[in-house]
Symmetry: C2
Subunit: 434 residues, 2 copies
């Protein structure tokens, strides 16, 4: 039986009618069934009065490593090199599937409570993450980020763990939950693998029609070392091996040069901006105006909690807007609140091959309600301005993912927070940190 | 009767014992009576178990314009000039005392719910703000920011409105509420007044032993125009008229030159950093490492909501850390989470002449409890890192100002939020925005 939202004020992300008022929105199954100022006929399982609230598409966190919630603030204050080598890599070496499941559930709880309905994740023990996501109810594009440190001439798909991981993940999980889970092909990054891996992953994606998820030019040194080693930038080098044949996600894109942006635009690759993580690790600020001028679609992500240290897409929007407009706005005009909201919703959905991120009939019902009577969102002179610059996770009073309410008024309906906390505290933390 | 907090984990901001565990903290009257690992003798009105929570000093928002909550997001997306002239100034021209009271109450509600216990405010209708603050329960240094656009030779204290405002504010409100309200002398900024005003305000402060609150070098053009006009920077020019004789607050300090920082250090003036507002208005990033190296104490503020667009000191801390460390950290080493917390608490308290901002016996009991079991604050590898980079307003489960609990588990105990909302909606907004 369908659900009806009444007295809806909505930020639709539909450029034709970006703000809708006094409307009815009906949801049936996983989709938005109807939308308009007339009450639709029929019976409803539930009627939800949205007076005082604003509906918007759920956030798409387009680049994250959700189990890293276990490492929140771990090694904070160190430089990138020390942080990775002395803290993160040793901790990750101790992870098992049970730790990853606990960390994924914890990260998803934070995401769901702050309005995220869809993620693109890259991490190890990916099948465990898939199971956790399936139960939590959000949509996810999952990938295992191929890493290979052997000699290129020794590479074979049979001996490379991450080739096997790709195959199992695809066979067991692609389109699971009626499309709730999608599997992306994935290369962790240019500097953690080599040409035969890129070729294999590109062919795997092409053979199965999969998306692609790669870390691209996150730091200056990574970008320059690639040029020194191969005579090409990471984006262009990977392209020669067919990595971008199906488009995909290039995470970070802080340093681009020599036609990189034009190439990404041409291949339909989305650049995922992670401003908080890039600032925290002192990596830099991705050039969003330049990307836009080159025709590259930009989405937003939090990256892992270990370098953020949260999964708060409201904060990601605000920091993205503040830093970009301050750094480059004088020459380019400011990014508007609508631009930023598009990065956090519809642009990410499109990058992940999801018919979501827009409130319109036929779209996937990934919807959140934000309480605009809260003292930090009142008064409202401009809905989009308030969403980008004033809203906070606690203003999210409902999260509906794929037509199902998974969080409402502080209560998780698919996750058992007490159980998650106990599992993190009594199993995962002792197992990893001793 | 005193209140006892048990099982306390506290970030004390006392350099000797910055983190306290398994402790008892007793509060009597407006002060912290005792603190230690032994349960104090005596009877208590209430015993509050702090298991799973972290106690820290309440935030000191050291530069704000609290009634501007009414203008949240108003004129967003415009450049500074258009924003001020086409939006803010016309709106402010329509303010009356009743609007200001409603806006102040609304702003205070947001501040209290997000853990602020003390503010330094500069705005018009200041006596109305004082009454609102007194009822709300936080401490406040209030000032009316002298503005004078007449010819210097026409100035007289009798005809300059803001001289009269200074006198009335001082006579009626200084030390009201047993010191809850303090009155600061105040010049809005160098560019909105002239030498005889500065001299009068400086003398007024000296005569009554008041603090000083001035906007200093917020924008590059303001700083340069002052040098063109007077041959000196704003900080040094004002010093010649005795403005810094009692120390005080220099808000913003984005552009400093030619010995400004050394002068501020010598005079004991605190620079108040407002990173979100400075980024939103594209003004710049204050050089915190340079200020620190020159011996200037730095505090944090949100500025007005119209240019922020919130009163969220957690966000202010995170943005301050991210932007400063990214912009200048490579050459200076990073600002630590402890440095940032000091800016948000004890440094502000000291600047405002408040014996608060530190959890220690005898200090004013301005204390907040932060729920560390929330999914965005769990697990905790480092308490200070979690407070600066992961915590959000909704994690504040208790706000105690001057020994009195004014907010607990989402409930305001001194403010009537429904009444405030109604007053804003039915009186202030129609009155100002038509």
């Amino acid at each position: 039986m369908p659900i009806l939202f009444t007295n809806v004020t909505a930020v639709t992300m539909d450029p034709v009618a970006p703000v809708l008022k006094n409307a009815f929105v009906a949801v049936e199954g996983t989709k938005i069934a109807s939308m308009g100022t007339e009450r639709p006929a029929g019976e409803f399982e539930r009627v939800i009065d949205c007076t005082g609230k604003v509906m918007m598409p759920g956030f798409v966190n387009a680049h994250t490593h959700v189990p890293m919630a276990l490492m929140r603030g771990y090694g904070g204050g160190c430089d990138l090199h020390t942080w990775l080598n002395d803290y993160i890599f040793p901790a990750e070496a101790k992870l098992d599937g049970r730790c990853v499941a606990a960390g994924a559930a914890l990260g998803l709880a934070e995401m769901i409570a702050s309005g995220t309905t869809c993620i693109a994740d890259m991490y190890m023990h990916t099948e465990t993450i898939a199971q956790t996501v399936l139960e939590a109810g959000v949509s996810a594009n999952l990938s295992c980020g191929a890493v290979y440190f052997g000699a290129p001439e020794d590479f074979s798909p049979e001996t490379c763990n991450d080739c096997g991981n790709h195959i199992r993940l695809y066979e067991n999980w692609h389109n699971a939950g009626d499309g709730q889970i999608k599997v992306d092909a994935s290369i962790h990054a240019e500097y953690t693998s080599c040409p035969p891996v890129w070729e294999w992953v590109a062919n795997f994606a092409r053979a199965h029609g999969l998306g692609m998820h790669v870390h691209v030019s996150e730091t200056h040194s990574e970008h320059e070392k690639c040029i020194d080693k191969y005579g090409e930038t990471p984006a262009q080098l990977l392209d020669r091996y067919g990595v971008w044949a199906n488009g995909g996600i290039a995470a970070h894109c802080v340093y681009l040069s020599g036609g990189d942006a034009q190439l990404l635009a041409q291949r339909g690759v989305t650049a995922v901006h992670n401003p908080v993580s890039n600032l925290k690790l002192m990596s830099g600020v991705a050039p969003l105006f330049f990307l836009r001028d080159c025709g590259v679609s930009v989405a937003l992500g939090t990256d892992g909690v270990a370098s953020n240290n949260s999964h708060n897409m409201f904060e990601e929007m605000k920091v993205a807007a503040l830093v970009q407009n301050y750094s480059f706005g004088e020459d380019h005009g400011q990014l508007s609140a609508a631009d930023i909201l598009a990065m956090a919703t519809v642009n990410g959905a499109r990058a992940l091959g999801r018919d979501a991120g827009v409130i319109a009939p036929g779209k996937i019902a990934d919807l959140i309600l934000v309480d605009f009577t809260a003292p930090n969102l009142f008064p409202c002179h401009d809905i989009m301005e308030n969403l980008v610059y004033s809203a906070a996770p606690s203003n999210v009073v409902m999260n509906m993912a794929r037509g199902k309410i998974i969080y409402e008024n502080g209560t998780f309906l698919t996750l058992d927070l007490e159980k998650i906390r106990a599992e993190v505290e009594h199993y995962a933390l002792p197992h990893i940190f001793g």
